[in-house]
């Protein structure tokens, strides 16, 4: 087949479709993964004995469970107890559960790195603990967690390819289908790789700009990565 025709008529349209699915997976997962991560970090850090243990258990479970296994359980396992999820939904749920577990660890680390005096001063001014966490602790902790969280976001872009294992044709799945149909493995996977690289590079630039915009003199922002 003519390489130009393969590229313009077959590869690019297929990867474009896949890319859209990948972006949907990632962009749906990230905000909920962040929110749940914040919730778990707060529960672990400030919750009572029970809540804190529950959050710790959550982290152990979802950090320990291979993501692929989790997706299999959500997609193939749940129907046996009557819960049928579309493959895309199952993927997003699995990613959120996993993403949140790791995010919460970065956020909790950041919370712990904030000096006690910040909370003390907020409470001395008459803030309740919840107000102090919202206004003083989280804005600082989230800034400090940006490097770790952005790492997780980059992992998410890459592990979103696991959705293909439960039939979601995202970027790498789309590549795989083209490659096997036309026996053009190297060309296709090289192209897929370039798209992932572009996504990750864009993310890195974006995070850099975000960090600069949120930077505050004297607050530690950079973590060597």
């Amino acid at each position: 087949m003519d390489p130009v025709i393969f590229l313009t008529q077959i590869l690019i349209p297929a990867l474009w479709q896949g890319l859209i699915i990948t972006l949907e997976l990632v962009l749906l997962t990230a905000p909920f993964g962040l929110l749940l991560g914040v919730g778990i970090a707060l529960g672990r850090q400030y919750g009572g004995r029970v809540l804190s243990s529950l959050c710790a258990g959550y982290i152990v479970f979802f950090k320990g469970c291979p993501l692929l296994l989790l997706l299999f359980m959500l997609y193939f396992g749940l129907p046996t107890i009557g819960i049928i999820l579309p493959a895309f939904t199952a993927s997003v749920i699995g990613f959120i559960l996993c993403n949140a577990a790791y995010n919460s660890e970065y956020i909790r680390g950041a919370i712990k790195s904030i000096k006690d005096g910040q909370m003390t001063a907020a409470q001395a001014l008459g803030m309740t603990k919840v107000q102090a966490i919202e206004t003083i602790i989280l804005p600082q902790a989230l800034r400090r967690a940006i490097p770790g969280l952005s790492n997780e976001f980059i992992y998410l872009i890459k592990y979103s390819s696991l959705a293909y294992m439960i039939t979601v044709v995202e970027l790498s799945g789309a590549g795989k289908l083209v490659a096997t149909k036309y026996f053009l493995y190297n060309e296709t996977f090289l192209a897929v790789g370039i798209v992932y690289l572009a996504l990750v590079t864009l993310t890195t630039f974006g995070v850099d700009r975000l960090e600069k915009r949120l930077a505050i003199p004297g607050m530690v922002q950079k973590s060597g990565r």
Binding site: K115, G117, Q118, T120, A121, A122, Q123, A124, L125, G126, M127, T128, Q131, T135, I136, P139, Q140, R143, I216, P217, G218, M219
Partner: protein, 247 residues
Amino acid sequence: MTSEYILRIVDLHKNFGDREVLHGISFNVKKGETIVFIGPSGTGKSTLLRCINQLTEPDKGHVFIDDDEVTGCGYRISEYRQRIGMVFQNFNLFDHLTAVQNVEIAPIRVRKMKPAEARKKAMEELRRVGMQDWADHYPSELSGGQAQRVSIARSLAMDPEVILFDEPTSALDPELTREVLEVMKDLARSGMTMLVVTHEMGFARSVATEVVFMEGGQIVEQGPPAEIMKNPKHPRTREFIGKIAEH
């Protein structure tokens, strides 16, 4: 019945493990008084201040502000803390906020004041401590003395009835100490009720209504500054005053 005292401390006890830090402290404060606490380190002066606004919970005893009991009030403690300002040795300014944001944040979040109104109030308080030109600077861009003045403004913005100063100048060099003490003297003269833990005897001499000498978790002696400094009755007070006078 309203008492003439704005703050009453009754028989406060506090243990940390086996160590008894406060051993039955009682005293009263009238509106507008400046009480200075002196004594060797580790004698419970800072713990006493922290027990007043319940940042540390006392084991026994009572704290009353305007006849309202602060001790054992449960979740309502945050309401009482609005009435009791506190200034810390390490300033504890909020690192992610500028000077003016540090001052306006509690009025906005706690008092639900409108942001524009809170900003105006915050600028007034900054002016009061001579920091209006530094409003848009972050804590890390301020000297220790400037940071402490902002933290005093932050406290003032909540219109507290009493302000607790926990060694406000101990982290500062002499020059910066002076600028903070000037602000505190102005405050004292303007009628603010203040409880101050400090080693600055000059400050005590010029504005304190009463000096309290504490040791071993107890009040050893208290009285007007001139009396305590020139004519201490208790031998331990005499020894302590003698020691800090040498410096």
